[in-house]
């Protein structure tokens, strides 16, 4: 029972214009195992699972499930075989309720039985131990809550193989724990879980085996208990890479941003200062108000009372454009909705917030300047794309995130707010981004960094503020940094 193969892939190959997304990949998945899939951004992980779930068809290769062979799956077929997927990009209908989304597409009758639907959704949430209003519209939920709904949706279908593509990316520590609880339960019931994540600590906690992809090639499958992060990283990247955080070289200067008793958007009485050359981390659970704080400073939501000072001068920020003019930049948390223009190409995306500096005769966009700006960031962030004219929707998730980073960094702001800057970004690129953020600080920029990743917060911040339920519950200085201290403050325990 333990070692029976439930699904195997043989020689799967998939081409896109200018890229070989998967090259002759063969893999086996066993019943009741948690099988992690890792690799750098653009390695082909999402492509592989889309082939398994029938969303796309391979150009070559075979899929074998329950002893039968197929050239490809279609979504209906995959579902029939008990394959369910939580994709990297959400597949929820914004305007429908949570319960409707969970039960989407499974109405057997002519009329919708709302009572039954709500009941079902509530029961699943109960099992998952999460607290979400089943009648709420999906568009009113936070990114993390939407992710939990996605997971609930897949569980409700009694999957035999559950694919999860970076499910933890929008979640914070405590929700990740809940999710692991769910995964372990499913595993006990014999469900196979294919788990994609860039967070190595997670896969050591949850997975039985791990397979590595690099540049569309299958590299190796290992027993998780017999390997270590260092080995995995070198398999993924193809060279040695030590995980480390850059040292601070600059000095901390005058106050760049100050908030005094700020209220609004669910925030209560927020006061803090951020100084030039400093990286100020913001910790907290989902719903603590971290993103709300970022949006409020940036003028995307309304400030009700209190004041904001930049370089000691009170300012009024009504719109994001005011914030940008005052030298504030924001990298938003949801790249697909708030960050990028999926239908436009890479260089268009990088330049859109920065057109004013790319103009000739004050009106016309200078194509040469635009190109050199885009090329600059393409090199600096190591964006993987065949050309800069590629539509952003054709990039892998992590590379889309890099485009969003580039777009904001191009505005050359003095105060930069990062809301989950490395969401979906691979280990190697993470290091590059940490260095980039540290370099910005060393150049005298003031950095506010919201993150749900403990290691990142502790490793990169000079100081950490912890939020809980719309308030700042504590400030921790570098000497006192510890995961326990942060979690204690984040759960509002004192």
């Amino acid at each position: 029972m333990e070692n029976t193969t439930i699904l195997s892939l043989r020689g799967i190959t998939k081409y896109y214009p200018g890229v070989v997304a998967l090259n002759d990949v063969s893999l086996e998945f066993r019943r009741g195992e948690v099988h992690a899939l890792i690799g750098e951004n653009g390695a082909g992980k999402s492509t592989l699972i889309k082939i398994i779930s029938g969303a796309i068809k391979p150009d070559k290769g075979l899929l074998e499930i329950n002893g039968k062979q197929y050239n490809s799956f279609d979504p209906f077929h995959a579902k029939q075989n008990g394959i369910e997927a939580v994709y990297q990009e959400f597949n929820l209908v914004d305007s429908l309720s949570v319960a409707e989304n969970i039960c989407f597409g499974e109405n057997n009758g002519f009329l919708v039985d709302f009572k039954k639907m709500y009941e079902k959704a509530r029961k699943i949430f109960e099992e998952m131990q999460v607290d979400i209003d089943v009648k709420a519209k999906v568009r009113d939920l936070s990114t993390a809550q939407q992710q939990l709904v996605e997971i609930a949706k897949s569980i409700s279908r009694n999957a035999k193989i559950l694919i999860m593509d970076e499910p933890s990316a929008p979640l914070s520590v405590s929700e990740v724990r809940k999710m692991f609880e769910i995964v372990r339960n499913l595993k006990k019931n014999g469900v196979t879980i294919i788990y994609i994540s860039h967070r190595l600590d997670e896969l050591f906690e949850i997975s039985d085996r791990v397979s590595v992809l690099r540049d569309g090639q299958y590299i190796k499958t290992l027993e998780t208990s017999r390997t270590n992060p260092k080995e995995l990283i070198s398999l993924m990247v193809g060279r040695e890479l030590t995980e480390s955080f850059p040292q601070k070289r600059g000095t901390i200067g005058a106050t760049a941003l100050e908030l005094k008793n700020v209220c609004g958007n669910g925030l209560k009485d927020i006061s803090f200062t951020l100084r030039k050359g400093e990286i100020l981390g913001i910790a907290g659970l989902v719903g603590a108000g971290r993103t709300e704080l970022a949006r409020l400073i940036f003028g995307a939501d309304k400030l009700i009372s209190g004041s904001v000072l930049i370089n000691g001068k009170p300012v009024r920020i009504h719109l994001p454009v005011d914030a940008i003019n005052l030298g504030i930049g924001l990298i938003p948390e949801d790249r697909k909705r708030q960050g990028c223009f999926l239908e436009k190409d890479v260089s268009w995306n990088i330049s859109i917030s920065n057109l004013r500096s790319l103009l000739k005769w004050k009106t016309v966009v200078d194509k040469n300047k635009e190109k050199s700006l885009a090329e600059d960031f393409y090199d600096r962030l190591n964006i993987k794309t065949p050309t800069l004219m590629q539509k952003v929707k054709n990039l892998s998730g992590g590379n889309q995130q890099k485009v969003v980073l580039a777009k904001t960094l191009a505005t050359n702001s003095d105060i930069i707010i990062f809301d989950e800057p490395t969401r979906g970004i691979d280990v190697g690129s993470k290091q590059e981004i940490y260095h980039l953020i540290r370099d910005l600080a060393d150049q005298g920029k003031a950095i506010l960094m919201i993150s749900s990743e403990m290691a990142e917060l502790i490793g990169l911040s000079d100081r950490i503020l912890v939020m809980y339920s719309g308030r700042i519950t504590g400030e921790i200085t570098k000497e006192e940094f510890s995961q326990d201290r942060i979690l204690e403050l984040a759960s509002g325990l004192n």
Partner: protein, 325 residues
Amino acid sequence: MKNGLIKTVINKYAIIFVLFGLVLLFSLLSPYFFTLQNLTNVFVQQSYVIIATIGLSFVMISGGMDLSIGYQMSLVGVVTAILMKNIGLPVPLSILLGLLLGVALGLTNGLAAITLKVHPLIVTLGTMTVYQGISYIASNQSVILNLPPSYKAIGQGYIGGIIPISVILMIIVSIVASFILSKTSFGRYVYALGSNEEAAHLGGINVNKIKLIIFAINGLFAAIASMILFARTGSAASSTGPGTEFSAMTSAVLGGISFKGGEGKVWGIIVGVLILGVLGNGMQLVGLNTYAQFIVKGLVLLAAVGFDTYQKASAQKASIKESTN
């Protein structure tokens, strides 16, 4: 590889081939069709539609819609005629005031859409009816005859005896609009709004301001279209203009402006209008009656939209095959 390239060219410029195909077809069916006289006619007839459609495209590319352009044209035309004939203002001044009125009507639409926070489709459904009412009250439901010759020249005159003034206006408007949309930062913002309004807002684009300017441009272009149409008719009635919104919408969709926004080019719009224009003119010459023409035009639209969807779905497959070879 080469095969694939030819395929993408055909896909991208499909509507141009459709236009050439129609021209060829009607040239075979009617000896009069492919004459300088008739082709000039088509351009003169369609010049105002092209201008109105380009204005509407600004709105559509930004993700909006304007149903009211027909009645904007009606109201602008009637008011301009009143200023010239009943009040006796000089023609250039009347035209200037008429154009300003167009801008004002466009701004009204924009303001309403922004403050009511409703989709412009609904907003302009409302303003359309308002503009209609005002136009009929202003004209007192009667026709203002014998507009001044210097005004009529806009729609009927020729420069150097061969090139129609209306066509020249159309060319100027097309070049200016194409320049704005494809070269300027403002143009980028128009596409940005239609692609992802939330990202545009957070990316530091003053969304409301851009929307207002877009509606103002649309109003101005509708007013220019109105001048040409009324000048060609030679008289002013409130019933002139309405209906243009549907020709414009149809042509825009034919020309590759998607209802979702974020996409479209000026050359596509011109080809879109000309396809409908050539169809209308050709069918007239062949002797099909007006109602049969409606049916054909409707079917052409459906075919175009269907082809577009099909092509987008198969584009991916095509390019995969291409890289396998």
